[in-house]
Symmetry: C2
Subunit: 249 residues, 2 copies
DNA sequence: ACCTGAACACCGTTCAAGT
DNA sequence: ACCTGAACACCGTTCAAGT
């Protein structure tokens, strides 16, 4: 009555044929469970049950749950870049804005991708890293074409990437905690500036207007940097001349 | 031989007296375990064992592990701000730089604080939120004194905060994954810009020079914003005049 | 009012088989 | 070569007591 093989007459589930499972099928099941609830709801027993397979069978295809997650990340990475649509031919700053706005949009709309990519940065396999690098390269080339040095281009990308992923981390953390995002205003009592913003501004720091400000502000900084670099760079190794020194020529 | 109460003659651990445990003592034990290994190593049984207490006793003081973690976050918050030393009297941009550089330093040097505060944003209790708000207010006031509007001050703080916490999230993710931070360079093959930076720049995006660039670039953006705001703001509601329009007076 | 062990429903993983 | 159940060492949490 309590055991899985209930009474002796009930079928305890047939043994599956030799080639009847595959890594691909396991991965698909894992994605389905994660999509239905969350990554926390994904367990080896639940997955085995869903596939109609003994728990241990999964370990033939994936040495550990971690290895399974790594494969999910790789596969999700491909899916992510397929969904990331950024128009061509934009000026560099509009390009960055479009790229990171879209970057954020895709992850906001798909918690699964967020859990399996953003929250697993640091667990990227070489394959996942390669996929990311290829997409980053495209953005870097646009920046270099616009006049940034390769170094500055990567710094610029990194800054926006860390900012955007930071916002996603924080937002996902709120969602997973199950607590209300909008916080009680008591925390602002006796704090004149914060209290003055009551009603106009939450402390979430990741609302749409926060994100827009953040991206625009980083772009503002990059524009100044580019102007400085171009002013200094045309004559050779002049990067410590004051900005605009060459305009006198 | 295998059971905790080994042979009948061995002491199975005495029953503790009525007032012999306290929430404070439990919290302290929880911090010790977390400091010795990591937050993942903290479990209710391990904690009970460390305290010489039945597992269930902890549940008298904390309704759940989550509630215990919430209390840890609150207490860590106080500790964090005690360790955060930012000099007084700096100009606003140097103030922000000092604040967030120090912010990052403290969390980098103390994984426990990082695990219990940064990685638990979204789980802040009203008490934790209050502590944070009070410290944020100080920074906001410095910005308002420098001429920023209250809105811009909070946006500015949020941008740097999200960026800094993003960097900490990512770095901690690398550390916890146990994988090497410096990645194989194969991912760069066939990618001219990234390949050209080989050896000079990893893809971690959170190295010290990355962070410095990110903060400086955000400050650059804020300087332009402040100049625009001051130019537009002196005459009243002129925020859509082009920057510098009032300088002609 | 406080502390307790036994028990429940879960985990991830290993082992020694089966076919 | 692939699939299996039993078993191990863990979890967080609840219950029905003890004192």
């Amino acid at each position: 009555m309590t055991s899985p093989s209930q009474s002796p007459t009930a079928t305890p589930r047939k043994r599956r044929a030799r080639g009847s499972i595959s890594a691909e099928e396991i991965l698909q099941g894992a994605f389905e469970i994660t999509a239905e609830e969350s990554l926390d709801g994904l367990s080896m027993p639940r997955l085995a049950q869903k596939l109609g397979v003994g728990v241990t069978s999964i370990y033939w295809y994936f040495r550990s749950k971690d290895e399974l997650l790594d494969s999910m990340t790789e596969q999700a990475m491909v899916r992510f870049y397929e969904e990331l649509h950024v128009p061509d031919g934009l000026p560099w700053d509009e390009h960055l804005r479009a790229f990171f706005t879209e970057f954020r949009r895709v992850f906001q709309e798909d918690d699964l991708l967020c859990d399996v990519i953003i929250r697993r940065t640091g667990n990227f396999t070489p394959i996942a890293l390669k996929a990311a690098s290829e997409r980053i390269e495209v953005v870097l080339e646009a920046l270099v074409d616009a006049g940034f040095s390769a170094e500055s281009a990567l710094y610029a990308y990194s800054c926006l990437s860390v900012y955007t992923r930071g916002a996603l981390f924080i937002e996902r953390g709120y969602a997973l905690s199950g607590r209300p995002t909008i916080r009680p205003d008591e925390a602002r009592e006796g704090l004149p500036v914060l209290d003055g913003l009551r009603g106009r501004h939450t402390l979430a720091m990741t609302d749409p207007d926060d994100f827009e400000f953040g991206v625009e502000n980083i772009l503002r900084g990059l524009r100044v940097l580019l102007a400085d670099e171009q002013a200094a760079g045309t004559g050779g190794n002049l990067s410590d001349l004051p900005a605009g020194a060459l305009r006198l020529r």
